[in-house]
Amino acid sequence: MILVWLILIPFIGGLLCWQAERFGEQPPRWIALGTMLLELALVLGVWWHGDYGLNAAQGASDWVLEWRAAWIPRFGIEVHLALDGLSLIMIALTGLLGVLAVVCSWHEISRRIGFFHLNLLWILGGVVGVFLAIDLFLFFFFWEMMLVPMYFLIALWGHSGSTGNTRIQAATKFFIYTQASGLLMLVAILGLVFAHHAATGEYSFSYEALRHTAQNELSPQMAWWLMLGFFIAFAVKMPVVPLHGWLPDAHAQAPTAGSVDLAGILLKTAAYGMLRFALPLFPEASQAFAPVAMGLGILGIFYGAILACGQHDLKRLVAYSSISHMGFVLIGIYSGTELALQGVVVLMVAHAFSASGLFIISGQLYERLHTRDMRLMGGLWGRIKGLPGIALCFVAASMGIPGTANFVGEFLVLFGTFDTWPWVVVVASGGFVLAAIYSLFIMQRVYFGPAKEDTPLGGLDGREIVMMLGLLALVLWVGLYPGPLLHTSEAAMQNVERIMTLEETPAMPEETP
């Protein structure tokens, strides 16, 4: 039942925020904050009580917690929620970033506060739903549903670019990209369901049943096409390079809280989807697809990094760097070794921290300078108290300096992939050089160099300091002691590896150079 509450709390909180607006500006903010803190506390409570490392050894059930109820009996659709180590980490991340998103928009949003928080919390609720649902219909339901509030967030509270109308264009682009690719996933899901129907005579959207069908009943060609349907949907959200068109615009125009949600958790739903659905449902097809995915990953790493170097808009730069980081995630996912998969989990968490940190910093700079154009910045080191130092830490984290969480994640991904794909690792490592370049660009252009003006800008207030230092502490904690995180996701990742390697033996020799 607690799983249901995890989903319901943000939705209810959102409605309360909306209605609380009539009592003034502050109540919606406090209610939103309280809701997300409650959510976070619940997740941490669940984490504290369960043991997530042991399940693989027991072998019987993969899920620590499970909840199901009939929903649409006609098609055997159930409200089927389940939690394992991977979803737990993701939900905890959602709760944490939800708190951050509420806090960082405390002063930024001054119009229609109630409606803003309604959208913000509904996104988070939808994301939690995505992480918990293992009925494919329910998964798709949440997957599509969370786009609507995100659309409103960008379209209504976004920053307009130079040509006035762009935030709506960005939001529309985001929505159409993700929705259309989502429909492809729906087609793939239905293809799977009807294959199941043909084999057993009954409809079901259940994960277990469909996994069984997918591995036993499908012709390889069919499996390939269905896998592609899933992959494209996830690849758009992730984003993988040829399908990334919406991301820079959406990030550049979104309000800070929107960017934090987008980079921190919406992108992670894609990686989660691959780990939970695309790979386990179609291990053979995924294995055959791995070389392509690796190629796309490398392309993403370099494309994102090179374009990041050329940006003037701070948020666009961070957005492109996200594409680059997601390239590593993609490589890690498709290498299929436990080490690399563990690295993927850490990297997702680390990227959520570092990218949200950087986006929040851009938001804070925007509040003070009313621009995100780096050409108009420069010499801020002496003008803002506190912020530049913190920014340096997050930039270092994004670069993957040892001691930060990103280092652990990237190192594990590359280390785990090296065995089977040494050349991929060699080439991908080149991405670090570019990462260093764009990261140093940020520091150089924003904080050093000649100052445009000498007047000091307002320093960080208590809210901002607590928020940034807290986030920084998490980055360092995961960077220095990733043990608890790795332990939590261990069982889930072992499962994925087991599924991948069952079919791996015959397929691999031709592909290893």
Binding site: F142, E144, A180, L190
Partner: protein, 477 residues
């Protein structure tokens, strides 16, 4: 007696029409007329239950009462009730006679109910005309408006041409087979094999019915008529009239399995494909909400045609579900337009800029329209999603990948203009001239109807099981 009971909804609607006519002749009283109409329609709706106990039953050679006809009858009556309620507020400001609107509405509803239960080409033609004729009057009801008059005349002329095609097609079929009832016709077609005259006859009938459903390439009247006509009449045209015609088309296709002739079949598939894409593409740049809804309804009937083309497995259920979601959503969307345009005073508030910033003035009304747009776009949490899900499912089940591809592409294109409408509602208003709903809209009957529709759309989107069960029950008999 059982036959009378089975036909009681139709009889009640006709009786109400006569009563309303006599009342108008006796004394003009707007509120009385409206009340009588609503009471009559509600009685007819309740009488569907009586009809359900008798079903399935063939009443004479012309009519049949079965699940499908009751399903269609309920949808038509609900749509008519909504149109009557919405029309009440709308016409309050109209000059000239206002009571006859209800008379026309009732006649059209009777035509629709007769159409869904016809099983004979004669009753098909008769009831189709009974459905269309009053519509000419309704569409041109505010005839002082140039657009309305144009809409009425345009619909009348084109509709007459389409009827001519329909008649010609029937004549050809009769000449070759000697049957006018659907069942006999179906058997004759099955045994006749491929015959040029029969194909021509079926093709001409398809033109006639396709015109009413505004299937591309017979869609040219739709946007103009939607745009020009008074909102309640457009609502009826978009909901009840289309439901009735689609159901009779479904019945025709079902009773004549030989129409699954390869040639005819691929023709239908091509029409569905073109309709989906053209409807959505043409809607992209519209600046008028009613026009946009017109194009969007073209696209939606393209999706529905997918179910008709496949015509096996889940197809009937899909058509039923999609019709329910489409009717609810269309009623809601047009309802909001009607509320904003009532009471009548000049052309309807249908330009998109009328809706700029509506959210900051009328948040709940905007919420309704937003829900309807999301539902038309097929986004989860709304009934439209269930409909879209069914359409994709039926396409995947039959492995018609081209049609599925067109559904996906059409939906993606469709998002663009639905989102445009949605975001317009929320944009800060620039202080241009605007129309607004009356302040007490939510307490008025029309407002209640619209709010209830929105609630229903969300409810069925979240928990569609009752709707699915009902449609299956209806499809089973």
């Amino acid at each position: 007696m059982t036959s009378l009971l089975a036909l009681s909804p139709l009889i009640l609607v006709c009786a109400t029409a006569i009563v309303v006519m006599l009342t108008i002749a006796w004394r003009r009283c707007y509120d009385l007329t409206a009340t009588l109409t609503v009471i009559g329609l509600n009685l007819a709706l309740a009488a569907q239950l009586l009809a359900w106990w008798q079903a399935p039953l063939d009443v004479t050679l012309l009519m049949t009462v079965d699940g499908l006809s009751i399903f269609g009858g309920v949808l038509i009556l609900v749509a008519t009730l909504a149109c009557a309620t919405l029309g009440h507020a709308y016409l309050e400001g109209a000059r000239g006679p206002r009571e006859e609107y209800y008379l026309l509405l009732l006649c059209a509803a009777a035509g629709g109910i007769a159409l869904v239960s016809s099983r004979h080409l004669a009753s098909l033609f008769f009831s189709l005309e009974l459905l269309s004729m009053p519509l000419y009057g309704m569409l041109a009801y505010t005839y002082r408006e140039r657009g309305a008059l144009e809409a009425g005349v345009k619909y009348m002329v084109l509709s007459a041409a389409a009827s001519a095609f329909l008649l010609f097609g029937m004549a050809l079929l009769y000449a070759r087979t000697g049957h006018l009832d659907f069942a006999g016709l179906g058997e004759a077609l099955a045994s006749a094999g491929s015959d040029g005259w029969l194909l021509a006859g079926m093709g001409m009938m398809l033109i006639g019915l396709g015109f009413k459903l505004s299937i591309v390439p017979f869609h040219l009247w739709t946007p103009d008529v939607y745009e020009g006509s008074p909102a309640p009449a457009a609502t009826f045209l978009a909901s009840a009239s289309k439901v009735a015609v689609l159901i009779v088309l479904l019945r025709l296709l079902q009773s004549a399995p030989a129409t699954q002739d390869a040639w005819f079949h691929s023709l239908l598939a091509v029409l569905a494909f073109v309709t989906m894409l053209a409807g959505n593409l043409l809607a992209l740049m519209q600046q008028d909400l009613k026009r946009l809804l017109g194009y969007s309804s073209i696209a939606h009937f393209g999706y529905l045609l997918v179910a008709l083309v496949i015509n096996e497995g889940l197809a009937v259920e899909t058509a039923g579900i999609y019709l329910v979601t489409y009717v609810l959503t269309t009623l809601g969307a047009f309802g909001v337009v009607t509320l904003l345009s009532s009471p009548y005073g000049g052309a309807d508030a249908s330009r998109l800029h009328h809706y700029r910033g509506l959210f900051w003035r009328r948040p709940y009304l905007t919420a309704v329209l937003t829900v309807m747009m999301l539902s038309l776009a097929g986004i989860p949490l709304t009934a439209g999603f269930i409909g879209k899900f069914y359409i994709v499912a039926v396409g995947v089940e039959a492995s018609r990948w081209w049609l599925v591809g067109a559904v996906v592409a059409g939906s993606a294109i469709g998002l663009f203009y639905y989102l445009r409408v949605m975001v317009t509602l929320f944009l800060p208003e620039p202080g241009m001239q605007r129309r607004d709903a009356t302040t007490d809209w939510a307490q008025r009957a029309g407002g209640v109807v619209v709010l209830a529709l929105a609630a229903l759309v969300v409810l069925l989107g979240v928990y569609p099981a009752p709707m699915i069960d009902w449609v299956r029950l209806m499809a089973a008999t």
